[in-house]
Symmetry: C2
Subunit: 356 residues, 2 copies
DNA sequence: GTGAAAGCGCTAACAA
DNA sequence: TTGTTAGCGCTTTCAC
């Protein structure tokens, strides 16, 4: 008879009932403050609960068909402040509403993403928040068929009326950033694309193209380089741009992390930011204001996006018949010190320009 | 008759039993591959499970007295890569062992910390991981009394044999960093203390002092400034140091985040790093290698610490009678570009030194 | 307003 | 080897 079950010594509804001298269904009523319980009875029960230190057993409650009060959150990883900020927003909303947050890290592995979704929809959670999902097709249908409440953050092209989405104005943000560079006199602007599987990458790329087109500037394929939203790839992309015979005078990275990689490469090459090369990012993660020079970037209201996503989900839980919503949040250009007016020939590295 | 219970349409053990033509306890046996089930029977059951897409209901299993397969993780916040790295390590270990991760963010609010611990120990989770806990006294005793498996990360002074702890060699790391600066010729080394409530802050401070003492250097209280592990406070501390009549030639911050604040302040003051002022940090978070100049710092194996903490906890779950362990992981000095040999008068700002 | 009783999905004796 | 049975703690009819 070892003390194996940690849940022994646990006060149940029955103990409270005995202590209060009522039936345990009455205790249940008090706990859920449902129907009308006589005030004195309620008080007696409440008192007993307090005395005994009763805490409701979620497992049992959830098994019985109620809510588990758990929300699953699926994220690619937690090692960067982008995701961290969104989680922070989600967490603050969930905590305020007494929900628990179950975290699942997919590490961008598609199989994991699907597998987690299956697990989560089966009793583990009441709803699901998917951050930067990449494999949506694989499970979105079953989510919809099961009518399992879910919200996608940073993903939009879902036709079904049941799915809610939250994202920022990616196209507009990229358009604004590009136009800003154009207004600074830049004519050759390198663009580092984000992860192709993500809709936001495509939208931002489109915004970049549109701004160039609107300004009557050519779209040079040489100036569009594939990226993956991570720093090393930004580094490589910048090196590619800098090695071009006619390098760009400004580089626009699809997110801040990539932009940091760009800054590394530019600085390493002996060029200065922004005097020689302007750099602009996207996201405005915490570090953007901390690097030197401060990174000019397009701000996404990350924490707010997380909060809104959680609100959407919780609203849906309370009212399952609500249709899916699509919330788009405004981006904002944050001007710091990484961009300057274009000058002739600044894209050409010092040692080369000296030769002429 | 609305379709409210999302868990309807859910395949249970009974469905599988019917499909396979066996009793449902046999199915249970197969699921838990317990006792000896005849291979053909097992195959038939497995087949039925697959056909029906059966997934075990954790709530029910856990209610029955088994494991919930959930580990609670209590963190101060998720907005920085320090915590992110540790969580990453925890997550990889838990995922590999089929455990789920319930995340609780305390935002350094003591009341929240205690409240969460109470909730978690009641049925929500099988074990608890506490990262950078600050309010340990308030609940450690109940954790121990309940024999609730838990591991503290970055906290050590717990006498009870039941509590396991993981941390790095904080004292040694700080000692090494300080000695490194001394060997570079620095005689006046400013130190920015970490959050006072955390043992690691005290240990690091002690390491700093010890290194100075061992080198026969005086400990100037003016050069020890209170911090809180966050960037703004590092900024303020550096400004304080720089405004001293006889400023330090090197600044050692109790963590990287503070060190970044120091770098901001130093750079803003027109001084150069490392030529004018050397800066050294602690942690080696991701960004340390990314800032310019690269931050010399004391590396903590963060992801590894998370992994080990999870391992310790899981081991304990499998064998509840094991005593608590205390794991200390080695720090390592990572030399980058933010420190240089001391030169005379370098701590004095340019405009001042020019006057002499 | 309150109590009795059924059962959520599962595991683990105990039988057969 | 397999089936029967009794709950885990809770919510929720349905009586009273």
């Amino acid at each position: 008879m070892t003390t194996r079950g940690r849940k022994n010594s646990s006060i149940t509804i029955v103990d409270v009932a005995r202590e209060a001298g009522v039936s345990y269904s009455t205790v249940s009523r008090v706990v859920n403050d449902n129907s009308h319980v006589r005030p004195e009875t309620r008080a007696r029960v409440l008192n007993a609960m307090l005395r005994l230190g009763y805490v409701v057993n979620q497992q049992a409650r959830s098994l019985r068909g109620g809510r588990s009060q758990v929300i699953g959150v699926l994220v690619p990883d937690v090692g960067n402040t982008y995701i961290g900020a969104i989680i922070q927003g989600i967490d603050s909303e969930l905590a305020a509403r007494q929900y628990h947050l179950m975290l699942y890290t997919t590490h961008r592995r598609k199989t994991k993403e699907s597998a987690y979704v299956t697990t989560i929809t089966r009793g583990m959670a009441d709803g699901l928040l998917l951050l930067l999902p990449t494999n949506v097709e694989a499970y979105i249908e079953s989510l919809q068929k099961l009518q399992f409440p879910h919200v996608l953050v940073d993903y939009q092209h879902v036709e079904n009326a049941f799915t809610s989405t939250v994202q920022s104005t990616n196209w507009q943000g990229a358009y604004d950033a590009t136009r800003y560079l154009i207004e600074l006199g830049h004519r050759r602007i390198g663009y580092i694309v984000g992860q192709r599987e993500m809709q936001c990458s495509l939208d931002r790329l489109a915004g970049y193209r549109a701004a160039l087109a609107d300004a009557g500037l050519p779209i040079d394929p040489e100036l569009i380089y594939p990226g993956d939203f991570y720093r090393p790839q930004g580094y490589m992309a910048a090196n590619h741009f800098l090695s071009l015979p006619n390098p760009p005078t400004a580089i626009f990275a699809a997110n801040d992390l990539s932009a940091f990689g760009v800054m590394d490469a530019v600085l390493n090459s002996g060029r200065r930011i922004p005097e020689d090369i302007s750099v602009i990012g996207f996201d405005d993660i915490l570090e953007a204001g901390h690097v030197h020079p401060g990174l000019t970037t397009v701000r996404q209201p990350l924490e707010e996006m997380g909060r809104v996503a959680a609100q959407l989900l919780l609203k849906r839980l309370d009212n399952p018949d609500l249709p899916g919503e699509r919330v788009e949040m405004a981006t904002e250009l944050i001007v710091r010190d990484s961009c300057a007016p274009a000058r002739e020939g600044v894209g050409i590295p010092p040692e080369v320009s000296r030769r002429y």
